[in-house]
Symmetry: C2
Subunit: 254 residues, 2 copies
DNA sequence: ATAATAGTGTCTTTTAGACAATATGTA
DNA sequence: TACATATTGTCTAAAAGACACTATTAT
Protein backbone atom coordinates (compact mmCIF):
# COMPACT_ATOMS: atom_id res chain seq x y z
CA UNK A 1 0.00 0.00 0.00
CA UNK A 2 2.98 2.31 -0.29
CA UNK A 3 3.56 4.96 -2.80
CA UNK A 4 6.47 3.63 -4.80
CA UNK A 5 7.94 7.08 -5.33
CA UNK A 6 10.96 8.22 -3.40
CA UNK A 7 10.41 11.81 -2.33
CA UNK A 8 8.62 12.52 0.96
CA UNK A 9 6.91 15.51 -0.60
CA UNK A 10 5.37 13.42 -3.32
CA UNK A 11 4.33 10.87 -0.73
CA UNK A 12 2.37 13.38 1.29
CA UNK A 13 0.72 14.73 -1.80
CA UNK A 14 -0.18 11.18 -2.78
CA UNK A 15 -1.71 10.49 0.60
CA UNK A 16 -3.72 13.67 0.48
CA UNK A 17 -5.11 12.68 -2.89
CA UNK A 18 -6.21 9.23 -1.79
CA UNK A 19 -9.83 10.25 -1.77
CA UNK A 20 -9.50 11.56 -5.30
CA UNK A 21 -7.79 8.57 -6.84
CA UNK A 22 -9.93 7.03 -9.50
CA UNK A 23 -11.13 3.77 -8.11
CA UNK A 24 -11.90 0.64 -10.12
CA UNK A 25 -15.34 -0.94 -9.96
CA UNK A 26 -15.39 -3.81 -7.48
CA UNK A 27 -17.69 -6.77 -7.84
CA UNK A 28 -18.06 -10.24 -6.38
CA UNK A 29 -19.20 -13.14 -8.55
CA UNK A 30 -20.05 -16.67 -7.45
CA UNK A 31 -19.71 -19.87 -9.43
CA UNK A 32 -22.34 -22.13 -7.91
CA UNK A 33 -22.09 -25.83 -8.72
CA UNK A 34 -24.55 -28.55 -7.97
CA UNK A 35 -25.47 -31.98 -9.21
CA UNK A 36 -28.74 -32.47 -11.08
CA UNK A 37 -29.73 -35.53 -13.04
CA UNK A 38 -26.26 -37.05 -12.79
CA UNK A 39 -24.67 -33.98 -14.30
CA UNK A 40 -22.57 -31.17 -12.88
CA UNK A 41 -24.48 -27.92 -13.30
CA UNK A 42 -23.72 -24.26 -12.79
CA UNK A 43 -26.13 -21.47 -11.91
CA UNK A 44 -26.32 -18.57 -14.36
CA UNK A 45 -28.46 -15.45 -14.36
CA UNK A 46 -29.69 -13.44 -17.29
CA UNK A 47 -28.52 -9.83 -17.41
CA UNK A 48 -31.18 -7.14 -17.52
CA UNK A 49 -32.12 -6.11 -21.00
CA UNK A 50 -32.06 -2.34 -20.62
CA UNK A 51 -30.20 -0.62 -23.44
CA UNK A 52 -27.79 1.00 -21.00
CA UNK A 53 -26.87 -2.24 -19.33
CA UNK A 54 -23.68 -4.03 -20.33
CA UNK A 55 -24.28 -7.35 -22.10
CA UNK A 56 -28.09 -7.03 -22.05
CA UNK A 57 -29.94 -10.33 -22.02
CA UNK A 58 -26.79 -12.43 -21.91
CA UNK A 59 -26.18 -15.12 -19.31
CA UNK A 60 -23.69 -14.37 -16.57
CA UNK A 61 -22.44 -15.61 -13.24
CA UNK A 62 -24.51 -14.36 -10.33
CA UNK A 63 -22.82 -11.44 -8.64
CA UNK A 64 -22.62 -7.72 -8.50
CA UNK A 65 -21.09 -4.70 -6.88
CA UNK A 66 -19.75 -4.80 -3.37
CA UNK A 67 -22.12 -2.88 -1.16
CA UNK A 68 -19.78 -0.81 0.94
CA UNK A 69 -22.57 0.15 3.29
CA UNK A 70 -23.74 -3.36 4.07
CA UNK A 71 -21.06 -5.93 3.22
CA UNK A 72 -18.67 -6.52 6.06
CA UNK A 73 -16.06 -8.24 3.92
CA UNK A 74 -15.64 -10.11 0.63
CA UNK A 75 -16.83 -13.45 1.93
CA UNK A 76 -19.93 -11.92 3.48
CA UNK A 77 -20.65 -10.26 0.17
CA UNK A 78 -20.31 -13.59 -1.66
CA UNK A 79 -22.60 -15.29 0.85
CA UNK A 80 -25.16 -12.55 0.39
CA UNK A 81 -25.18 -13.00 -3.38
CA UNK A 82 -25.42 -16.74 -3.01
CA UNK A 83 -28.28 -16.41 -0.54
CA UNK A 84 -30.11 -14.08 -2.93
CA UNK A 85 -30.14 -16.71 -5.63
CA UNK A 86 -30.43 -19.97 -3.73
CA UNK A 87 -31.59 -19.25 -0.18
CA UNK A 88 -28.73 -21.44 0.99
CA UNK A 89 -26.97 -20.22 4.10
CA UNK A 90 -23.86 -22.31 4.67
CA UNK A 91 -22.56 -23.98 1.59
CA UNK A 92 -19.00 -24.93 0.90
CA UNK A 93 -17.52 -21.67 -0.34
CA UNK A 94 -13.94 -21.00 -1.38
CA UNK A 95 -12.14 -18.17 -3.07
CA UNK A 96 -11.33 -18.90 -6.68
CA UNK A 97 -9.40 -15.79 -7.67
CA UNK A 98 -9.63 -12.27 -9.02
CA UNK A 99 -10.01 -10.98 -12.51
CA UNK A 100 -9.33 -7.32 -13.07
CA UNK A 101 -8.44 -5.04 -15.92
CA UNK A 102 -9.36 -2.16 -18.10
CA UNK A 103 -11.41 -3.91 -20.74
CA UNK A 104 -13.45 -6.57 -19.03
CA UNK A 105 -16.35 -4.23 -18.21
CA UNK A 106 -17.43 -1.49 -20.62
CA UNK A 107 -18.24 0.74 -17.66
CA UNK A 108 -14.59 1.01 -16.71
CA UNK A 109 -11.59 -0.57 -15.01
CA UNK A 110 -13.07 -3.31 -12.88
CA UNK A 111 -12.08 -6.09 -10.53
CA UNK A 112 -14.16 -9.08 -9.63
CA UNK A 113 -13.51 -11.40 -6.74
CA UNK A 114 -14.77 -14.82 -7.65
CA UNK A 115 -15.87 -17.47 -5.16
CA UNK A 116 -17.02 -20.94 -5.93
CA UNK A 117 -19.66 -22.83 -4.06
CA UNK A 118 -20.68 -26.48 -3.93
CA UNK A 119 -24.13 -27.42 -2.71
CA UNK A 120 -26.52 -30.34 -2.86
CA UNK A 121 -29.38 -29.84 -5.28
CA UNK A 122 -31.95 -31.01 -2.75
CA UNK A 123 -31.02 -28.18 -0.41
CA UNK A 124 -32.52 -25.57 -2.71
CA UNK A 125 -35.52 -27.33 -4.17
CA UNK A 126 -38.02 -25.21 -2.21
CA UNK A 127 -36.82 -21.88 -3.59
CA UNK A 128 -36.55 -23.20 -7.11
CA UNK A 129 -39.92 -22.31 -8.51
CA UNK A 130 -39.93 -18.69 -7.46
CA UNK A 131 -37.71 -16.86 -9.90
CA UNK A 132 -37.00 -19.39 -12.60
CA UNK A 133 -37.29 -16.88 -15.39
CA UNK A 134 -33.88 -15.25 -15.30
CA UNK A 135 -32.03 -17.82 -13.20
CA UNK A 136 -31.19 -21.23 -14.62
CA UNK A 137 -28.97 -24.22 -14.13
CA UNK A 138 -26.74 -25.16 -17.05
CA UNK A 139 -24.81 -28.42 -17.40
CA UNK A 140 -21.17 -27.45 -17.28
CA UNK A 141 -20.27 -29.29 -20.43
CA UNK A 142 -22.96 -27.50 -22.36
CA UNK A 143 -22.03 -24.33 -20.55
CA UNK A 144 -18.44 -24.68 -21.57
CA UNK A 145 -19.32 -25.55 -25.11
CA UNK A 146 -22.38 -23.56 -26.08
CA UNK A 147 -22.36 -20.76 -23.54
CA UNK A 148 -18.68 -20.02 -23.70
CA UNK A 149 -18.81 -20.11 -27.44
CA UNK A 150 -21.89 -17.91 -27.56
CA UNK A 151 -20.12 -15.95 -24.92
CA UNK A 152 -21.20 -15.34 -21.40
CA UNK A 153 -21.30 -11.72 -20.29
CA UNK A 154 -18.01 -10.01 -19.40
CA UNK A 155 -15.16 -12.53 -19.07
CA UNK A 156 -17.42 -14.98 -17.30
CA UNK A 157 -16.74 -17.69 -19.86
CA UNK A 158 -13.09 -17.62 -18.87
CA UNK A 159 -13.94 -17.52 -15.19
CA UNK A 160 -16.32 -20.45 -15.46
CA UNK A 161 -13.69 -22.45 -17.31
CA UNK A 162 -11.18 -21.67 -14.55
CA UNK A 163 -13.68 -22.73 -11.90
CA UNK A 164 -14.38 -26.04 -13.62
CA UNK A 165 -10.68 -26.66 -14.04
CA UNK A 166 -10.03 -25.89 -10.37
CA UNK A 167 -12.86 -28.16 -9.30
CA UNK A 168 -11.69 -31.05 -11.47
CA UNK A 169 -8.12 -30.65 -10.35
CA UNK A 170 -8.98 -30.54 -6.64
CA UNK A 171 -11.32 -33.50 -6.95
CA UNK A 172 -8.30 -35.61 -7.83
CA UNK A 173 -6.95 -35.34 -4.30
CA UNK A 174 -9.66 -33.93 -2.03
CA UNK A 175 -13.11 -34.81 -0.76
CA UNK A 176 -14.80 -31.84 -2.46
CA UNK A 177 -17.50 -33.93 -4.22
CA UNK A 178 -18.97 -34.80 -0.83
CA UNK A 179 -20.28 -31.23 -0.62
CA UNK A 180 -22.49 -31.94 -3.61
CA UNK A 181 -24.46 -34.60 -1.71
CA UNK A 182 -27.02 -34.45 1.05
CA UNK A 183 -26.17 -36.41 4.15
CA UNK A 184 -26.27 -39.18 4.83
CA UNK A 185 -24.86 -40.50 1.56
CA UNK A 186 -23.51 -43.90 0.61
CA UNK A 187 -20.10 -44.78 -0.78
CA UNK A 188 -21.52 -45.87 -4.15
CA UNK A 189 -23.24 -42.47 -4.37
CA UNK A 190 -20.04 -40.66 -3.48
CA UNK A 191 -18.05 -42.64 -6.01
CA UNK A 192 -20.59 -41.79 -8.67
CA UNK A 193 -20.16 -38.08 -7.97
CA UNK A 194 -16.41 -38.43 -8.33
CA UNK A 195 -16.89 -40.22 -11.62
CA UNK A 196 -19.26 -37.56 -12.91
CA UNK A 197 -16.93 -34.71 -12.07
CA UNK A 198 -13.81 -36.50 -13.28
CA UNK A 199 -15.56 -37.96 -16.30
CA UNK A 200 -13.94 -41.34 -15.87
CA UNK A 201 -14.72 -44.51 -13.95
CA UNK A 202 -12.87 -45.30 -10.74
CA UNK A 203 -12.08 -48.64 -9.21
CA UNK A 204 -14.58 -49.54 -6.50
CA UNK A 205 -12.17 -51.24 -4.15
CA UNK A 206 -9.48 -48.58 -4.28
CA UNK A 207 -12.08 -45.86 -3.88
CA UNK A 208 -13.59 -47.39 -0.78
CA UNK A 209 -10.23 -48.06 0.81
CA UNK A 210 -9.11 -44.51 0.24
CA UNK A 211 -12.32 -42.93 1.47
CA UNK A 212 -12.58 -45.02 4.61
CA UNK A 213 -8.89 -44.72 5.42
CA UNK A 214 -8.89 -40.91 5.29
CA UNK A 215 -8.78 -39.48 8.79
CA UNK A 216 -11.60 -37.15 9.84
CA UNK A 217 -13.55 -37.73 6.67
CA UNK A 218 -16.55 -40.04 7.14
CA UNK A 219 -18.53 -41.39 10.04
CA UNK A 220 -21.14 -44.09 9.76
CA UNK A 221 -24.78 -43.07 9.86
CA UNK A 222 -26.64 -46.36 9.65
CA UNK A 223 -27.81 -48.46 6.75
CA UNK A 224 -29.75 -46.60 4.10
CA UNK A 225 -32.86 -47.76 2.30
CA UNK A 226 -32.03 -46.56 -1.19
CA UNK A 227 -34.08 -49.19 -2.97
CA UNK A 228 -30.96 -51.18 -3.75
CA UNK A 229 -31.19 -54.93 -3.19
CA UNK A 230 -28.63 -54.74 -0.42
CA UNK A 231 -28.91 -51.73 1.86
CA UNK A 232 -25.68 -49.67 1.75
CA UNK A 233 -24.10 -47.98 4.75
CA UNK A 234 -24.78 -44.26 5.05
CA UNK A 235 -22.06 -41.78 6.01
CA UNK A 236 -21.84 -38.23 7.29
CA UNK A 237 -18.96 -35.78 7.06
CA UNK A 238 -16.94 -35.35 10.21
CA UNK A 239 -16.01 -31.82 9.15
CA UNK A 240 -18.40 -29.68 7.16
CA UNK A 241 -16.20 -26.67 6.55
CA UNK A 242 -13.03 -28.03 5.02
CA UNK A 243 -12.47 -30.85 2.55
CA UNK A 244 -10.12 -33.71 3.34
CA UNK A 245 -6.88 -33.97 1.38
CA UNK A 246 -5.72 -37.38 0.20
CA UNK A 247 -2.00 -38.16 0.06
CA UNK A 248 -2.13 -39.10 -3.63
CA UNK A 249 -4.16 -38.35 -6.70
CA UNK A 250 -6.47 -40.85 -8.38
CA UNK A 251 -4.85 -42.65 -11.24
CA UNK A 252 -6.91 -45.50 -12.48
CA UNK A 253 -9.57 -45.98 -15.03
CA UNK A 254 -11.32 -48.73 -13.09
CA UNK B 1 -13.22 3.86 -17.78
CA UNK B 2 -13.63 4.36 -21.47
CA UNK B 3 -14.48 1.82 -24.03
CA UNK B 4 -13.65 3.11 -27.51
CA UNK B 5 -16.33 0.94 -29.05
CA UNK B 6 -19.02 2.68 -27.06
CA UNK B 7 -20.85 5.73 -28.25
CA UNK B 8 -20.18 8.85 -26.16
CA UNK B 9 -23.83 9.00 -25.13
CA UNK B 10 -23.85 5.45 -23.91
CA UNK B 11 -20.60 5.96 -22.11
CA UNK B 12 -21.86 8.91 -20.11
CA UNK B 13 -25.01 7.03 -19.25
CA UNK B 14 -22.96 4.27 -17.70
CA UNK B 15 -20.69 6.69 -15.94
CA UNK B 16 -23.60 8.60 -14.44
CA UNK B 17 -25.25 5.49 -13.05
CA UNK B 18 -22.11 3.82 -11.85
CA UNK B 19 -20.68 6.93 -10.23
CA UNK B 20 -23.39 6.85 -7.61
CA UNK B 21 -21.98 3.65 -6.23
CA UNK B 22 -19.38 4.11 -3.52
CA UNK B 23 -16.33 2.20 -4.62
CA UNK B 24 -13.88 0.42 -2.34
CA UNK B 25 -10.17 1.19 -2.46
CA UNK B 26 -8.35 -1.31 -4.65
CA UNK B 27 -4.75 -2.25 -4.09
CA UNK B 28 -2.32 -4.94 -5.19
CA UNK B 29 0.27 -6.33 -2.81
CA UNK B 30 3.08 -8.74 -3.55
CA UNK B 31 4.66 -11.30 -1.26
CA UNK B 32 8.17 -11.68 -2.64
CA UNK B 33 10.15 -14.67 -1.48
CA UNK B 34 13.78 -15.45 -2.05
CA UNK B 35 16.55 -17.51 -0.52
CA UNK B 36 19.40 -15.72 1.27
CA UNK B 37 21.97 -17.39 3.46
CA UNK B 38 20.13 -20.69 3.48
CA UNK B 39 16.96 -19.06 4.76
CA UNK B 40 13.65 -18.22 3.17
CA UNK B 41 13.18 -14.46 3.21
CA UNK B 42 10.41 -12.05 2.37
CA UNK B 43 10.69 -8.48 1.13
CA UNK B 44 9.04 -5.81 3.28
CA UNK B 45 8.88 -2.05 2.89
CA UNK B 46 8.58 0.57 5.57
CA UNK B 47 5.50 2.76 5.39
CA UNK B 48 6.00 6.51 5.12
CA UNK B 49 5.95 8.30 8.42
CA UNK B 50 3.62 11.17 7.60
CA UNK B 51 0.94 11.76 10.21
CA UNK B 52 -1.86 11.26 7.73
CA UNK B 53 -0.49 7.95 6.54
CA UNK B 54 -1.99 4.75 7.87
CA UNK B 55 0.43 2.66 9.93
CA UNK B 56 3.28 5.20 9.68
CA UNK B 57 6.74 3.71 9.93
CA UNK B 58 5.51 0.13 10.12
CA UNK B 59 6.71 -2.64 7.87
CA UNK B 60 4.35 -3.82 5.14
CA UNK B 61 4.19 -5.90 2.00
CA UNK B 62 5.19 -3.95 -1.11
CA UNK B 63 2.15 -2.84 -3.02
CA UNK B 64 -0.21 0.02 -3.57
CA UNK B 65 -3.21 1.32 -5.38
CA UNK B 66 -4.13 0.10 -8.81
CA UNK B 67 -3.30 2.84 -11.27
CA UNK B 68 -6.35 2.88 -13.47
CA UNK B 69 -4.61 5.08 -16.00
CA UNK B 70 -1.55 2.89 -16.47
CA UNK B 71 -2.19 -0.65 -15.28
CA UNK B 72 -3.66 -2.84 -17.96
CA UNK B 73 -4.79 -5.56 -15.57
CA UNK B 74 -4.12 -6.96 -12.11
CA UNK B 75 -1.14 -9.05 -13.10
CA UNK B 76 0.50 -6.13 -14.90
CA UNK B 77 -0.02 -4.06 -11.79
CA UNK B 78 1.63 -6.73 -9.64
CA UNK B 79 4.55 -6.98 -12.05
CA UNK B 80 4.98 -3.21 -11.96
CA UNK B 81 5.15 -3.17 -8.18
CA UNK B 82 7.58 -6.05 -8.17
CA UNK B 83 9.74 -4.33 -10.76
CA UNK B 84 9.76 -1.16 -8.70
CA UNK B 85 11.26 -2.96 -5.75
CA UNK B 86 13.48 -5.56 -7.32
CA UNK B 87 14.10 -4.65 -10.97
CA UNK B 88 13.14 -8.22 -11.80
CA UNK B 89 11.10 -8.61 -14.95
CA UNK B 90 9.88 -12.18 -15.20
CA UNK B 91 9.72 -13.99 -11.92
CA UNK B 92 7.42 -16.80 -11.01
CA UNK B 93 4.25 -14.95 -10.03
CA UNK B 94 0.96 -16.46 -8.97
CA UNK B 95 -2.21 -15.11 -7.47
CA UNK B 96 -2.54 -15.81 -3.78
CA UNK B 97 -5.97 -14.40 -3.04
CA UNK B 98 -7.92 -11.32 -2.06
CA UNK B 99 -8.50 -9.72 1.28
CA UNK B 100 -11.25 -7.15 1.47
CA UNK B 101 -13.44 -5.60 4.09
CA UNK B 102 -14.50 -2.53 5.95
CA UNK B 103 -11.89 -2.44 8.68
CA UNK B 104 -8.60 -3.50 7.16
CA UNK B 105 -7.64 0.02 6.02
CA UNK B 106 -8.51 3.08 8.11
CA UNK B 107 -9.10 5.06 4.93
CA UNK B 108 -12.16 2.98 4.09
CA UNK B 109 -13.57 -0.25 2.65
CA UNK B 110 -10.66 -1.75 0.76
CA UNK B 111 -9.74 -4.80 -1.27
CA UNK B 112 -6.25 -6.03 -1.94
CA UNK B 113 -5.30 -8.57 -4.56
CA UNK B 114 -2.25 -10.43 -3.35
CA UNK B 115 0.29 -12.12 -5.60
CA UNK B 116 3.25 -14.11 -4.53
CA UNK B 117 6.56 -14.23 -6.32
CA UNK B 118 9.56 -16.52 -6.11
CA UNK B 119 12.92 -15.34 -7.37
CA UNK B 120 16.57 -16.21 -7.03
CA UNK B 121 18.48 -13.87 -4.79
CA UNK B 122 21.32 -13.50 -7.28
CA UNK B 123 18.96 -12.04 -9.85
CA UNK B 124 18.52 -8.85 -7.87
CA UNK B 125 21.91 -8.29 -6.33
CA UNK B 126 22.71 -5.30 -8.58
CA UNK B 127 19.72 -3.21 -7.51
CA UNK B 128 20.18 -4.07 -3.86
CA UNK B 129 22.31 -1.17 -2.74
CA UNK B 130 20.11 1.56 -4.14
CA UNK B 131 17.19 1.94 -1.76
CA UNK B 132 18.10 -0.21 1.20
CA UNK B 133 16.73 2.24 3.73
CA UNK B 134 13.04 1.44 3.65
CA UNK B 135 13.17 -1.90 1.85
CA UNK B 136 14.51 -4.97 3.61
CA UNK B 137 14.55 -8.73 3.50
CA UNK B 138 13.25 -10.53 6.58
CA UNK B 139 13.66 -14.24 7.31
CA UNK B 140 10.16 -15.66 7.25
CA UNK B 141 10.46 -17.34 10.60
CA UNK B 142 11.49 -14.09 12.21
CA UNK B 143 8.88 -12.33 10.12
CA UNK B 144 6.19 -14.65 11.32
CA UNK B 145 7.35 -14.45 14.89
CA UNK B 146 8.57 -10.94 15.52
CA UNK B 147 6.94 -8.99 12.73
CA UNK B 148 3.54 -10.59 12.96
CA UNK B 149 3.63 -10.21 16.70
CA UNK B 150 4.74 -6.59 16.47
CA UNK B 151 2.20 -6.36 13.73
CA UNK B 152 2.80 -5.59 10.13
CA UNK B 153 0.74 -2.77 8.68
CA UNK B 154 -2.88 -3.47 7.73
CA UNK B 155 -3.65 -7.21 7.76
CA UNK B 156 -0.32 -7.99 6.17
CA UNK B 157 0.68 -10.26 9.00
CA UNK B 158 -2.25 -12.51 8.15
CA UNK B 159 -1.52 -12.29 4.45
CA UNK B 160 2.14 -13.17 4.93
CA UNK B 161 1.16 -16.14 7.07
CA UNK B 162 -1.23 -17.31 4.35
CA UNK B 163 1.49 -16.93 1.72
CA UNK B 164 3.98 -18.96 3.74
CA UNK B 165 1.39 -21.62 4.35
CA UNK B 166 0.51 -21.78 0.65
CA UNK B 167 4.18 -21.99 -0.30
CA UNK B 168 4.92 -24.76 2.20
CA UNK B 169 1.86 -26.70 1.18
CA UNK B 170 2.57 -26.48 -2.54
CA UNK B 171 6.20 -27.39 -2.06
CA UNK B 172 5.04 -30.79 -0.86
CA UNK B 173 3.89 -31.75 -4.33
CA UNK B 174 5.27 -29.23 -6.84
CA UNK B 175 8.58 -28.00 -8.16
CA UNK B 176 8.11 -24.46 -6.83
CA UNK B 177 11.47 -24.32 -4.98
CA UNK B 178 13.26 -24.47 -8.33
CA UNK B 179 12.16 -20.89 -8.94
CA UNK B 180 14.27 -19.81 -5.97
CA UNK B 181 17.49 -20.94 -7.69
CA UNK B 182 19.53 -19.56 -10.56
CA UNK B 183 20.08 -21.92 -13.43
CA UNK B 184 21.85 -24.16 -13.85
CA UNK B 185 21.43 -25.69 -10.42
CA UNK B 186 22.38 -29.12 -9.09
CA UNK B 187 20.15 -31.71 -7.49
CA UNK B 188 21.87 -31.40 -4.09
CA UNK B 189 21.18 -27.65 -4.26
CA UNK B 190 17.56 -28.22 -5.17
CA UNK B 191 17.12 -30.74 -2.39
CA UNK B 192 18.58 -28.27 0.07
CA UNK B 193 16.02 -25.65 -0.96
CA UNK B 194 13.22 -28.13 -0.42
CA UNK B 195 14.61 -28.95 3.01
CA UNK B 196 14.86 -25.29 3.94
CA UNK B 197 11.30 -24.50 2.92
CA UNK B 198 9.85 -27.67 4.42
CA UNK B 199 12.06 -27.47 7.49
CA UNK B 200 12.78 -31.18 7.47
CA UNK B 201 15.38 -33.44 5.81
CA UNK B 202 14.47 -35.48 2.75
CA UNK B 203 15.89 -38.78 1.57
CA UNK B 204 18.52 -38.25 -1.12
CA UNK B 205 17.68 -41.26 -3.24
CA UNK B 206 13.94 -40.75 -3.23
CA UNK B 207 14.35 -37.06 -3.97
CA UNK B 208 16.54 -37.69 -7.00
CA UNK B 209 14.28 -40.38 -8.37
CA UNK B 210 11.24 -38.17 -8.09
CA UNK B 211 12.88 -35.11 -9.58
CA UNK B 212 14.42 -36.93 -12.51
CA UNK B 213 11.31 -38.99 -13.21
CA UNK B 214 9.01 -35.95 -13.42
CA UNK B 215 8.13 -35.22 -17.02
CA UNK B 216 9.01 -31.79 -18.40
CA UNK B 217 10.85 -30.78 -15.29
CA UNK B 218 14.64 -30.87 -15.65
CA UNK B 219 17.11 -31.03 -18.51
CA UNK B 220 20.81 -31.59 -18.07
CA UNK B 221 23.10 -28.59 -18.43
CA UNK B 222 26.56 -30.06 -18.00
CA UNK B 223 28.68 -30.78 -14.95
CA UNK B 224 29.04 -27.87 -12.57
CA UNK B 225 32.19 -26.75 -10.79
CA UNK B 226 30.72 -25.96 -7.41
CA UNK B 227 33.88 -26.65 -5.45
CA UNK B 228 32.56 -30.02 -4.41
CA UNK B 229 35.02 -32.93 -4.63
CA UNK B 230 32.92 -34.56 -7.30
CA UNK B 231 31.38 -32.23 -9.85
CA UNK B 232 27.59 -32.51 -9.79
CA UNK B 233 25.37 -32.41 -12.84
CA UNK B 234 23.69 -29.08 -13.52
CA UNK B 235 20.08 -28.83 -14.60
CA UNK B 236 17.79 -26.26 -16.18
CA UNK B 237 14.01 -26.04 -16.08
CA UNK B 238 12.22 -27.21 -19.16
CA UNK B 239 9.32 -24.87 -18.41
CA UNK B 240 9.90 -21.54 -16.73
CA UNK B 241 6.32 -20.41 -16.33
CA UNK B 242 4.58 -23.25 -14.54
CA UNK B 243 5.77 -25.57 -11.79
CA UNK B 244 5.62 -29.33 -12.20
CA UNK B 245 3.14 -31.27 -10.08
CA UNK B 246 4.22 -34.56 -8.54
CA UNK B 247 1.68 -37.38 -8.13
CA UNK B 248 2.34 -37.67 -4.41
CA UNK B 249 3.46 -35.55 -1.52
CA UNK B 250 6.78 -35.97 0.25
CA UNK B 251 6.54 -38.09 3.34
CA UNK B 252 9.88 -39.01 4.75
CA UNK B 253 12.26 -37.56 7.24
CA UNK B 254 15.35 -38.83 5.44
C1' DA C 1 -33.25 -69.34 -6.84
C1' DT C 2 -31.94 -65.31 -9.36
C1' DA C 3 -30.57 -60.86 -10.12
C1' DA C 4 -28.66 -56.75 -8.67
C1' DT C 5 -26.18 -54.01 -5.87
C1' DA C 6 -22.89 -53.67 -1.68
C1' DG C 7 -18.78 -54.85 0.08
C1' DT C 8 -14.16 -57.73 0.62
C1' DG C 9 -9.85 -60.16 -0.68
C1' DT C 10 -5.89 -61.07 -3.37
C1' DC C 11 -2.40 -60.17 -6.35
C1' DT C 12 0.34 -56.90 -8.90
C1' DT C 13 2.37 -52.43 -9.75
C1' DT C 14 4.24 -48.17 -8.55
C1' DT C 15 6.67 -45.04 -5.91
C1' DA C 16 8.76 -43.71 -1.84
C1' DG C 17 11.67 -44.47 2.51
C1' DA C 18 15.85 -46.39 4.57
C1' DC C 19 20.31 -47.09 3.98
C1' DA C 20 24.25 -49.33 2.01
C1' DA C 21 27.41 -49.20 -1.76
C1' DT C 22 29.84 -47.17 -5.51
C1' DA C 23 31.82 -43.20 -8.32
C1' DT C 24 34.62 -39.22 -8.89
C1' DG C 25 37.16 -35.46 -8.09
C1' DT C 26 40.26 -32.43 -4.57
C1' DA C 27 43.75 -31.99 -1.16
C1' DT D 1 45.76 -42.31 -0.76
C1' DA D 2 42.27 -40.31 2.12
C1' DC D 3 38.25 -37.81 2.09
C1' DA D 4 34.13 -35.49 0.88
C1' DT D 5 30.50 -35.13 -1.98
C1' DA D 6 27.67 -37.07 -5.93
C1' DT D 7 25.20 -40.82 -7.62
C1' DT D 8 23.35 -45.52 -7.78
C1' DG D 9 21.44 -49.86 -6.02
C1' DT D 10 18.82 -52.89 -2.96
C1' DC D 11 15.40 -53.98 0.07
C1' DT D 12 11.16 -52.83 2.33
C1' DA D 13 6.74 -50.43 2.98
C1' DA D 14 2.53 -48.22 1.68
C1' DA D 15 -1.10 -47.42 -1.20
C1' DA D 16 -3.40 -47.93 -5.48
C1' DG D 17 -5.06 -50.60 -9.75
C1' DA D 18 -7.14 -54.84 -11.60
C1' DC D 19 -10.33 -58.00 -10.87
C1' DA D 20 -12.37 -61.93 -8.75
C1' DC D 21 -14.98 -63.18 -5.01
C1' DT D 22 -18.51 -63.05 -1.16
C1' DA D 23 -22.73 -60.86 1.16
C1' DT D 24 -27.36 -59.30 1.34
C1' DT D 25 -31.94 -58.62 0.01
C1' DA D 26 -35.92 -57.64 -3.31
C1' DT D 27 -38.42 -60.15 -6.60
Amino acid sequence: MTDPSDSPARRTAYAARVKDIERPLVTVDVVIFTLIADALQVLLVQRPSGAREPFPGQWALPGGFVDVAHDEDLRACALRKLRDKTAVESPYLEQLGSWGGRTRDPRGWSVTQVYFALLPWASLQPRKGSNAADVRWFPVDAANAAQTADGLAFDHGLILAAAVERLRSKVEYTSLPAFLLTEPFTLPQLQQVYEIVLRRPLDKSAFRTRALAAPDFLEEAGLQATGAPRAPMGYRLVKHLQPVTFPRTFQSRG
